[in-house]
Symmetry: C2
Subunit: 146 residues, 2 copies
């Protein structure tokens, strides 16, 4: 398991322990993890506080720029439209994600945002890394709440 996806999965597990849907993300610049974040909209009272948004904002703060052109984003779940849009705005170079999200994903499902003509930056996309563990965390979380 690549270290950034390990960090993202650990953040996802922490999210579950906090009662949040277990999704985690990490941003890598020049081979170093510069930001790790967990999904936290309820805890933070912030509907935009998905793991990807939080990791991108933290990385941009670290780098002092709104452009993360040298950065890769690792996330345990296929990004939604909000997060795919943020990835494009941030000019993320490569996106690595774990589990597919047929219900809310916007990369391989629904709007397939990066394939839209109105998308002005397309990262390279790699999926399926850590998929079993990422999907398992989500299944366990929702099973407990049913």
């Amino acid at each position: 398991m690549p270290a950034p996806m390990r960090a993202a999965l650990d953040a996802a597990r922490a999210a579950a322990n906090a009662g949040e849907v277990p999704v985690g993300a990490a941003v890598v610049a020049n081979g170093a993890i510069i930001a790790v974040a967990a999904n936290a909209p309820r805890t933070l009272h912030d509907p935009t506080a998905h793991a990807e948004i939080r990791a991108i904002r933290a990385a941009a703060e670290v780098l002092g720029s709104d452009r993360l052109e040298q950065c890769d984003l690792w996330v345990t779940l296929e990004p939604c439209a909000m997060c795919a849009g943020a990835i494009a705005h941030a000019r993320i170079a490569r996106l690595y994600y774990g589990a597919e999200d047929a219900k809310g994903g916007a990369v391989a499902h629904g709007p397939r945002f990066f394939a839209q003509q109105t998308c002005h930056h397309r990262p390279e996309v790699y999926s399926g890394i850590g998929e079993d563990e990422a999907a398992g965390l989500l299944r366990a979380f929702f099973a407990e709440r049913r």
Copy 2:
């Protein structure tokens, strides 16, 4: 001009004066404006700092909840995919926007996010309010920079 769009247009003008693409937004709850924000990604070193995201985050903080079910969002420009996604996550009741954005909009253009099956909440949408002034601010901003 409705007061929330007036506030959003004033925020857009302030954005232009700060060197940012002139877009502004306001959130209304029970008839009162509870948040106003300008587009500020460069100033804040935050690629997610569109006017809508900032206004939604501020309103959620005011209300102490990640759900803005009683709230309306007013914005000078058609929201992009990131912001349309955030509007859905926040459960915004009504969206009022000014100018159309054929190049980057995600409501009436591109992914038309609210019409996607993977969109889990659709606000009522009203467009064209304050459109001339909103579009004029954008045209002047980009003309100056050409």
